[in-house]
Symmetry: C2
Subunit: 239 residues, 2 copies
């Protein structure tokens, strides 16, 4: 099966969770995002028969069209051998991915608390306020949760063995390190298992090759994870 | 199978999408939310073995623990005969439910754009700004999408036949009518199929009985859908 991944060009965004799974599994796929946004738009406008996506990413697998990042991974997981076979494990992987998706919305909204359609610069004050709460409450809450999940999974994996959830946790840590380096360093000691997982995933041969390739786009200020020093700085009191 | 639904007491919230499915199907379930939040907390703290929820709602089905509203409905759908049998239809139902879940986050954040942990009154100005964008861009965008989905489904159902997605769309319309009555009236003409679906679902015998019962909590200002007149009023220019 040759999969086709549709997403916006120029950013990692939500498409990256799917890419990491396809790359890790060495799957055959066409990354349609690389060919420009025009190829994608007819699907969103309903020009194609079948399931109607609200937004990218979406995956074409034969005649199936699957939208929503977590649903795509739920579908791909067993097919790419990136999730255990039991129903319970697959539902748990999916729940973890959905929780991570909720976290991603909150990460995005740190820089866009008012409107996605407006510039960051036009909601900077609100962003500072939202990010202060995010760093204080939400960031540690989500990281503590995933650390707890790893602990329950035996310490090395979310699900006792390698899965797409580990790949997504890798991406989460990478993005947070990029966006909030100071806040993340401050939390380092409470998440040793996440730190270790992050390192181990980066060393998986297919992932290491992908990260070193031109296919891996750099984080940038159009994506979900953005680095604005003023949003990472609010707790600097003793300098 | 007797299902157990765990959720916060006192609000419809995300638990309501699960309740509507259980009620419509006449399923045997225990609504643990009715017994106080204390019963739920040990699960969130990891005191029980198995899958660890990040937040309610979660469902206990025998030994399975399933968190995340859309994942619960994905699991219940075939078991309650609230989704067609094909993989494609079940993935589409799930995608629609996940898109609705994204919408629910945006609806919640109209009154809490800065921090869930702070009072509405302490983020009222930001809420007005966010809701202005929501009413102008996001509300019509999501409603147009679901109207389009109904149109593609033949006009009467999201999926060509009754499913949990129809029940969730009913809940979405009910909540929006409560929170934003003026904004919703203004959009009425562009969503005849959603209006018709809303009416038909309310008339389903099990749903009508549920809505008339004490089990259906009223919308209120602790939930996701909240009515603050000042957030519904921004486009009143010609009165």
């Amino acid at each position: 099966m040759r999969y086709e991944l549709y997403y916006w060009t120029g950013i990692q965004g939500r498409g990256e969770y799917v890419r990491l799974a396809l790359e890790d599994a060495g799957a055959d796929y066409r990354d349609v995002a690389r060919e420009g946004d025009d190829v994608m738009m007819p699907f969103l406008q309903g020009a194609h028969p079948g399931n109607l996506p609200f937004a990218p990413p979406f995956l074409k697998a034969g005649r199936l069209v699957i939208a929503q990042t977590a649903a795509i991974l739920f579908y791909l997981g067993p097919r790419l051998k990136l999730v255990p076979a039991s129903v319970s494990a697959q539902l748990y992987a999916h729940q973890l991915q959905l929780t991570l998706a909720d976290f991603v919305v909150e990460i995005h909204d740190t820089h866009h608390p008012i409107a996605s359609s407006e510039y960051y610069e036009d909601q900077r004050e609100e962003a500072k306020r939202r990010t202060t709460d995010f760093r204080k409450h939400r960031l540690p809450k989500f990281l503590d949760y995933f650390e707890h999940v790893l602990d329950r999974g035996g310490g090395r994996h979310a699900l006792r063995k390698h899965s797409y959830v580990d790949l997504s946790l890798f991406q989460m840590m990478s993005g947070l390190d990029y966006a909030f380096p100071r806040a993340m360093r401050r939390l380092d000691r409470r998440m040793p298992l996440l730190r270790d997982l992050h390192k181990r995933v980066a060393e998986r041969p297919n992932i290491a090759a992908y990260l070193a390739s031109e296919r891996r786009l750099a984080f940038n200020e159009q994506g979900i994870f953005r680095h604005y020093a003023e949003l990472d700085d609010g707790f600097r009191t003793a300098r």
